[in-house]
């Protein structure tokens, strides 16, 4: 099976633990080269985060487990990329 290189997740998580903690925990995982978390909506107790993970061999289950352990729940998988090279989304005339 091709190695997973990019994962973009829509996650609802409590404000604590903060995204500073979460991003470092995700970055420590095996096969991960870099992580970005951006918040696009914030509530009194929870926040919606877009988590982008890139690497040479991502382990989806481990990533979701770390998010879950920190109280987050994955609402949707918004983008994935796998294979020898990273392919970006192609803009077509229909877009």
């Amino acid at each position: 099976m091709g190695n997973l290189r990019r994962l973009v997740l829509d996650v609802l998580k409590p404000l604590d633990p903060s995204i500073v903690t979460l991003v470092q925990l995700l970055a420590d995982l095996k096969g991960v080269d870099g992580v970005n978390i951006s918040i696009y909506e914030i509530d009194r107790r929870v926040e919606n985060a877009k988590i982008t993970v890139e690497g040479h061999d991502l382990r989806y289950d481990e990533i979701v487990a770390v998010i879950g352990e920190n109280g987050g729940s994955v609402h949707s998988i918004d983008e994935v990329a796998a294979g020898k090279v990273l392919i970006e989304d192609v803009v077509t005339p229909q877009d």
Partner: protein
Amino acid sequence: MPVADQGRRFERLAQGMDDMREYERIAGFLQIARRALANNAFDGVLTMIGVLMGNYLGGVRSAVTVIRIGIATSISIGVSGLWGAYLAESAERGRELAELEKISLTDLSDTKIGRASRVAVVVVSLVDGLSPLVSSMIVLLPFFFVPLIGSIILGYVLSLAVALVGLFGLGMFLGRISGRGLVGYGWRTVVAGIVAIVINALLPLD
């Protein structure tokens, strides 16, 4: 013990400390525990002042009797602190967690947040229970030395002195938390002890 075993034990200890720091960041129990420590230790000392004054004015002149009554009282206020705090804190934390679970539509009991909540309940309950127990036992300490001192009256005087010094120390602790004058806070708590002693002494019960 082999070096590797020692290393692993040290690693586990460091991991445990890291976990506690993380739980404190999530559940923020240190401030509550600190307040409980000051409040309940203060309760413990003042309760013991009451016990001492009651024994003295009631004509108790046996150190063993004073120790027995004192320990029984200490245990009761310790159990009261532990039980009360456990029930109140677990109800409050449980409600908070349930609210968060409802918002996030996730079962959080087996996550860092759930564990932090449970650790907070245990830490606050232990501090609530142990602080009055320890503080009141310290006040009682001179009575263990009555056979050496040779005078039960001196035992009472020393115990009350320990209580007032303890109150001064607690006041200084509160002063340090508030970032204001240590001595000023110290005297304020001592006055509470003196007021308790004087009211007990002046009660026309005989």
